[in-house]
Symmetry: C2
Subunit: 249 residues, 2 copies
Amino acid sequence: MQPLSERDYIQQLSIDCVIFGYQDKQLKVLSPKLDFKGDFWALPGGFIHQQESIHEAAFRILEDRTGIRDIYLEQFRVFGDAERSNVQFMGRLVELNREKFDSHLFNRKEFEWLTRRFVSIGYYALVDINKVVPRKNDIDESIDWYPIKALPTMIMDHNEIVEKALETLRANLDQKLIAFNLLPETFTMKDLQELYEAIFDKPFARNNFQKKMLDLNVLERLEKKYTGAANKAPYLYRFQQQAPLLEAV
Amino acid sequence: MQPLSERDYIQQLSIDCVIFGYQDKQLKVLSPKLDFKGDFWALPGGFIHQQESIHEAAFRILEDRTGIRDIYLEQFRVFGDAERSNVQFMGRLVELNREKFDSHLFNRKEFEWLTRRFVSIGYYALVDINKVVPRKNDIDESIDWYPIKALPTMIMDHNEIVEKALETLRANLDQKLIAFNLLPETFTMKDLQELYEAIFDKPFARNNFQKKMLDLNVLERLEKKYTGAANKAPYLYRFQQQAPLLEAV
DNA sequence: GCAAAAGTGTTTTGCCTACACCCATGC
DNA sequence: GCATGGGTGTAGGCAAAACACTTTTGC
């Protein structure tokens, strides 16, 4: 494979993606673990080709790891400290994996390319976790969903990036009506509420929550969902893409 | 002077600053005009040294053009289209200024460095316009404040950058209590209201505006301001830096 | 019938708006 | 006194929050 340093990337500029999913009443983040000794977790990330926009680059990185392209994606912040580089983590990684670095994989030039100071553009994505089949790339040992409350310690400032992403998600959730991207096609009101509770890490009043959501006029009520439980069956809902924002005409 | 291409800048990454000021009941933006034939206006911008953070770089660029350092400054968006480069505008500029380009100023290498594709980080700044003495740099013909409603057509996507900055300013104004950065140390309630009206381009009800602002609990009421006009003298206010957000304890 | 969970209605609260009124100032 | 503009108080509307009640489901 062509070494990183010889591909047509913009130098010292990277993209890091916080990919949010929702499962088991928990907000989760997708994180690959590097195929090296030493337990290195990271955010899915990559670099920007000369001939693609940063948005396209983010989509490409996302598709490489999730297999899907139809994703809600938004930039939220640039991380650009002067000391922001891979040098510390790469140093430890090389130290713990001497045997690999005498081989072909990482030569000196590659190491220098990677350990320079990098400015990184943070993106966050919202996906239906059931549609995603996480894909390892060449240097991953594994790639898994981690509850946001039990994230491993990641390399560099990646834990901080996740925090900022969550802040932005919370701030944007109601305004941009994006929560539905985290759910399957159809869902019950309870599903939606539990999703909100997972994101904001606080409870919502059931009846008021339902009223608020229905008043948005973006939910289409479908048939009831019989689960076999000894109680009233909840309705299923679907998010209306073509939201009629001005219903009152 | 050392040519751009040989200084220790991060390649293909720039910063563009939308510097907001307030004067004559208008929101204004600081824009230098290039010292070349052809009427080229731009946003104050620059590049990032290897050993400085992007935030420090933005402060440096700001200080170079305004002379002050104590400024409210925030990044708001990255502009990274694949086609985003100076090549079109530089082409026109060279065409209209042949005589300058046969001289020492811009050699071929410099031209190539500048016309590559650039990703730019947008910052917006809020300043007390009275504290600023705009400074030209070596390639400016002039640098002036332009009302946001009468901005000249600027190079590249700089007009679009201003629009996005204004959107962000409007969204953040109340939440972050930053309007006061655009006013002098002391001001009347009417000053503050007119500032809001300039930013949002719509009128506010006088009494309700006053109540809303006072309820924020961040304004310190000072002495009255006698203007000699035949009416009640308005109070002067000062913004309390150490905002007591939890007054009700 | 009963427990559990879903759906809906009613009251209260707080905030924003609109309207109204009073006060200080210089002529 | 009076016009002008500044400060404040009060009533209405809307939406969120709190409280309460009814309905459906399987045993």
